[in-house]
Symmetry: C2
Subunit: 436 residues, 2 copies
Amino acid sequence: MRLSTYFMPTLKETPAEAQIVSHRLMLRAGMIRQSSAGIYSWLPLGLKVLKNIEQVVREEQNAINCHEVLMPTIQSADLWRQSGRYDDYGPEMLRVSDRHGRDMLYGPTNEEQITEIFANSIRSYRDVPQLLYHIQWKFRDEVRPRFGIMRGREFLMKDAYSFDLDKEGAQNSYNKMFVSYLKTYERLGLKAIPMAADTGPIGGDMSHEFLILAETGESEIACHNECLNNNWLKDVDADSNLGKIVHTFTEKYAATDEMRDEKTERALGSNLITARGIEVGHIFYFGTKYSSKLGAVVTGPNGEEITVEMGSYGIGVSRLVGAIIEACHDDRGIIWPETVTPYKVGLINLRHDDDNCTNACDNMYSLLKDAGIEALYDDRDKKAGVKFADMDLIGLPWQIIIGPKSVKDGIVEFKNRKTGELVELSAAAALNLLKG
Amino acid sequence: MRLSTYFMPTLKETPAEAQIVSHRLMLRAGMIRQSSAGIYSWLPLGLKVLKNIEQVVREEQNAINCHEVLMPTIQSADLWRQSGRYDDYGPEMLRVSDRHGRDMLYGPTNEEQITEIFANSIRSYRDVPQLLYHIQWKFRDEVRPRFGIMRGREFLMKDAYSFDLDKEGAQNSYNKMFVSYLKTYERLGLKAIPMAADTGPIGGDMSHEFLILAETGESEIACHNECLNNNWLKDVDADSNLGKIVHTFTEKYAATDEMRDEKTERALGSNLITARGIEVGHIFYFGTKYSSKLGAVVTGPNGEEITVEMGSYGIGVSRLVGAIIEACHDDRGIIWPETVTPYKVGLINLRHDDDNCTNACDNMYSLLKDAGIEALYDDRDKKAGVKFADMDLIGLPWQIIIGPKSVKDGIVEFKNRKTGELVELSAAAALNLLKG
């Protein structure tokens, strides 16, 4: 992409309203703009990151044979009256009345809707278990939205739902999702810790939150250092000994601030880690809470009626954009993990008005394109300082810098955004490093 | 995908509420389920088609350097008060009040929002022209929603917006989009005709609707037969002689029912075609209607203020799913064009309980997977008749059928869904045909 024709309105000044670093950087990098309180528009650079995260989440859901559906944003209030949550939910639910005066709502979550779909579609135990998910915008009318897209009102969430014949099956679905979440976060370049959690308004018997570590995280956590050891994830396959693996994780001490236990922590000694974290996922097992109320019943092998056992599994997709920035930035800007970066490499032309320099850049850009490497090419009529600052700010993992001197020497400067390391290479060698 | 674990609840009976063929087939094929009046959930098969269409639309927008953004669904009423449309829009707009009593709305379109983003981001003539689009759910509270997703209330639309310095630039953006639309529909396997249209509530000076031909289409149209000649599209490049090409199209006679002209039609003689069509796109040029009210003003080369000239360009993405079915079906079900089909080929195991047969099917499935060909494998414990009917119903372009006899003969049956042609081939030969 040529920056001269792109839509990437970066800001030099830090907007006064932004209290946390991810919000500041997303505004400054031209990733988002506020539309109204807690509601944001995603500009091209931000949307690319959002889509990349969404795609990793999607692939990991598909990998456990969880099927993608898409439920609408506007739901009927009657459905929520069946579960009893219409009155329970409180002012966070955005309530709407349509032109015929029917009560509707903007879905804050989808337990009722997916249970209805299941109930209307599946009649036999033969078609169970089922795992279904969707990635859709939700609305929660926070009383005081803040921290940009980290705590917005309209947000993108992946929510999955499991349907099983019995508790053992439901536990297995829960375990599948548990391990899948750890894999998802690892692919996103994050260290995630699962923690036993309250079930809150979703209800249920078992629940874990997934927190990722970030120095600027919203909550303090304490855990056994083994909780950060994800090495064994590589070898696990979706259907084998999941219970054991989940147990390995959940038996270890891990607690959010309000749950910490001094005695246990003293016993852990040097194995104790304290850190700050950001919640980026939450999973629940809640049995027949919704299936019994919404009639999600199948016929068993002997003709008996079985009310299915359910769980739900959320990942905050838009929230992850902010969480990743909180975990991956420095004083100069964002540092994207390779899996989510909007472009793999930034190409900087230091002298837009020098034909040799521009030709060398155009050639490099063609080479990158031909190799299928997504590059953002700063071909603007701007000073070198502005280009360096913008490129560091937007955080692409690699930079190729070409100026009159490098053209003369037949090299390019190849920069690692994270370490700042700068090496001189031939264009071909730089290309090979990016391909590798 | 193995059908035994998939979520594809097909129906044998035709649902009584469905008045048109696309609605009937989408319900029967397990592509959608109604959530409430005019609001639908997309099940896995339907969602795959929706995503495929979305991706073709996206690629053709990207190809003309139109940049993807994503605006939220919930907008501030104040923004619409600035343009004067908040009061004008009437009961089709879903109006919402948030917990603080602020007037909000579910966007039926996005002229105001994109103009505000542009106005807050672009200050210099150097950064114009700009083409921006997004693919987002919209809500129009139709008084009588019907025809399934063809006339739903919550629907997915691609809307693009152009920003230019003068009328000539705006006309060029309009032309780019005009040609891009014709290419988009062609890639989707559709014959589209652009027709001069009223500008309606968007307003403006120039507008075209794009109708695709379908025997069951909602409106009758008449046109010069040359309007259906898209051959020249292949060679056009986005920046060359677009005006001439648009003119070639727009000078030809083409009229919806209420606009037909008897005298012109008589003169056309055998060049006149009458057909039925479905509207799947609408483009508008409306000058400074929104930019003047929302302050989308840039500084020109001599320091002068320029109010930008705008256009907007819509494609009904979810509507296209229905429109394609209206154009592509027979008595047995849907017939997907290759570009949008949810799976390229359906694999039918005629004898689930015969090990040789199942082994042959499993092998074929592996071959397809390894070749990167998306296959839906009917491995269910069902009768052959049910499998044939379901596979014809869901409309994958190709079928591979394997039964005990074909195993004995070392062949597979290879069926073209559209023509019904059935040939006997080796597994390898079938694979090669699908790869080609």
